[in-house]
């Protein structure tokens, strides 16, 4: 015991840590968690792919989307709403961290308050970008084609990631308020009406009147419209009824609104809890 009593050298004074170092260190933890918990990635990817194929092949024949092949109509919608579903995971993970004291430990450390939430946002956005990329790859394999240029396609992908980032803050806020992983899962159910009562899978015009109202005024519809208009290229205006700028402007406005409301609430909640 006396050999070990070579005590920890306290001449090394702990100092407060910078934003970049702390953010990267914590991001690394989330990344490792995903990398080493195969169920998380495999299940998520498998599920996503399975549902995509179901929509593409099983429902595809039955759904009319104007003169656009359904696969081309579906993919932007599917990928865009995919970010919502991965957001539930973020809410649950955040709630778990609160539940098991991980957040408490982080808050008791001499690191900037913002680094924890920033790390969460970065890590989760990276994960969803990955998941989106996989889905897009599968989409191409089953017949999806870009009708616009490659640049527009990349812009479309970038928009998806951006929307994911904005919603991420909403889900992190949910996770911070939820109180438990199960509650967070429950709160995450809000995703379903947003994803399905939108232009993502079917045209809004095909819905009953009362659902159309919801679909028209919720954020997913213009977001999906923005992504879709970029992938459809020159056919977009004719098929969708509005130029891509119409959708993009609205989608960005929604994303900004969600971010501007959620982020400060998340930060305040993190500080106070």
């Amino acid at each position: 015991m006396t050999a070990i009593a070579q005590t920890l050298d306290r001449s090394i004074e702990p100092r407060a840590v910078g934003l970049v170092t702390s953010t990267l260190t914590i991001t690394r933890r989330t990344a490792l968690r995903y990398a080493r918990t195969p169920q998380l990635i495999v299940m998520a990817t498998l599920q996503m792919s399975l549902f995509f194929l179901i929509y593409r092949f099983m429902f595809g024949g039955a759904i009319r989307a104007g003169s656009i092949p359904y696969v081309d109509y579906l993919v932007p919608g599917f990928v865009a709403t995919g970010v919502l579903f991965s957001g539930i995971g973020a809410a649950v993970a955040t709630a778990e961290d609160v539940e098991n004291g991980f957040i408490d430990r982080l808050r008791s450390l001499p690191i900037p308050r913002s680094s924890v939430l920033a790390a969460r946002a970065i890590a989760d956005t990276a994960i969803l970008a990955l998941a989106a990329a996989v889905t897009v790859a599968i989409a191409f394999a089953v017949g999806f084609r870009l009708h616009g240029g490659l640049l527009e396609g990349l812009a479309a992908f970038g928009l998806v990631v951006l929307f994911g980032f904005a919603f991420e803050w909403l889900f992190v806020t949910m996770g911070l308020f939820a109180g438990s992983a199960q509650a967070a899962q429950g709160m995450g159910m809000i995703v379903f009406p947003l994803a399905f009562v939108s232009s993502a899978y079917v045209t809004v015009a095909s819905m009953p009147g009362w659902l159309q109202v919801f679909a028209k005024y919720q954020p997913l519809t213009p977001m999906v419209g923005a992504v879709r208009s970029l992938t459809l290229g020159s056919r977009a205006q004719a098929e969708l009824g509005h130029p891509s700028s119409y959708y993009i402007a609205r989608a960005l406005a929604w994303a900004a609104a969600i971010l501007v409301v959620s982020a400060p609430i998340a930060v305040a909640r993190y500080r106070r809890s």
Binding site: D9, I26, S108
Partner: protein, 320 residues
């Protein structure tokens, strides 16, 4: 020498509940202080206030000379916190977990590696260090959690109910680890519901309830106020309780208490074995049927009873 902790008149309300209601406490340096109290006494709230995790509604709180509201960064640099749950990442190895926390205390990669290794060695976790924490037992996770609170080389260690839920062996292992730390000069504040834990580890005990300090002293001082130990007699015959009480009353010392509901009679004694002998002899002459006789430590309820009077003890028992 600056006191490690100086708390005066701490208040914290959650809606209608007063978690802290004028708590006063001073912890001198170089010692282990145990905050003892039932569930709801305000122990965890106090620890969270110390760890700069919440804002107090009133009162002043200084840790190592720094005010927690005005200077939280400095306080955080010098603290280590281990809460009720093992706040470690299961998908990382023990070593990775500790290195991560060390980095977040501002240590360079190299220093962090050294600190982590040292702590793993200290806590007997070198062997499983490179396995994922997922594979660890509950006791090992708690020890790793303790390690995470140490790796930043804190001057003050905050342990919130560190052995709750642990099996007896892990409990003792954790106590040994804490004792070793104290030898190395870390100040420790721990909260607990268990008198034996406070007794084993602390130089000084502060008893709290309803967010207030009720009593403070060394373990020996506090136990003396209760009368040291307790002889407890159990029977399943309700009508024998009174006879048992009379028999025990002859053993001298402490008031005799009868608990009708649990069919127990207790009396406070000095703790000497011969008093137990005297009690047994006295009981043998009485015409009573006994299920069990024990000489044991006072429970928290009994300490409360002795220090605060019956109604407070009932509150304590109800809150526990």
């Amino acid at each position: 020498m600056t006191a490690t902790i100086e708390a005066h008149g701490l208040e914290k309300r959650y809606g209608k509940t007063r978690a802290l209601d004028g708590l006063d406490l001073v912890a001198e340096s170089g010692q282990v202080l145990a905050v003892l109290g039932p569930n709801g006494a305000g122990k965890t709230t106090f620890v969270r206030a110390l760890a700069t995790l919440l804002r107090l509604d009133a009162g002043t709180l200084r840790v190592l000379g720094h005010d927690v509201h005005r200077d939280p960064e400095t306080v955080r640099c010098r603290l280590g916190l281990a809460g009720q749950f093992a706040a470690v990442e299961p998908a990382m190895t023990g070593r990775e977990n500790l290195e991560m926390v060390a980095r977040l205390y501002g240590q360079s990669r190299k220093t962090a590696r050294a600190s982590a290794h040292h702590v793993l060695e200290q806590l007997g976790l070198l062997e499983p260090a490179d396995r994922l924490v997922r594979t660890y037992s509950g006791g090992m996770r708690r020890r790793l959690d303790l390690g995470a609170s140490l790796v930043g080389r804190p001057r003050l260690l905050l342990l919130d109910e560190p052995t709750t839920g642990l099996d007896p062996r892990s409990r003792i292992e954790l106590w040994d680890a804490i004792r070793a730390l104290v030898e190395l000069g870390t100040d420790v504040l721990l909260t607990t519901q268990y008198l034996d834990e406070a007794d084993q580890l602390a130089h000084e005990i502060v008893i709290v309830d309803h967010g207030r300090t009720i009593a403070a002293g060394t373990p020996a001082e506090l136990k003396r106020r209760v009368g040291g130990s307790v002889i407890e007699v159990r029977t399943h015959h309700r009508d024998h309780l009174a006879l048992i009480a009379t028999a025990l009353g002859r053993v001298d010392h402490g008031p005799v208490h009868i608990d009708e509901a649990t069919r127990r009679v207790t009396v406070g004694v000095d703790g000497a074995g011969d008093q137990l002998m005297a009690a047994l002899e006295s009981l043998a002459t009485a015409d009573v049927e006994i299920d069990d006789v024990a000489l044991r430590q006072p429970t928290l309820d009994e300490v409360f009873l002795a220090l605060t009077g019956p109604s407070a003890a009932d509150d304590a028992a109800a809150a526990a």
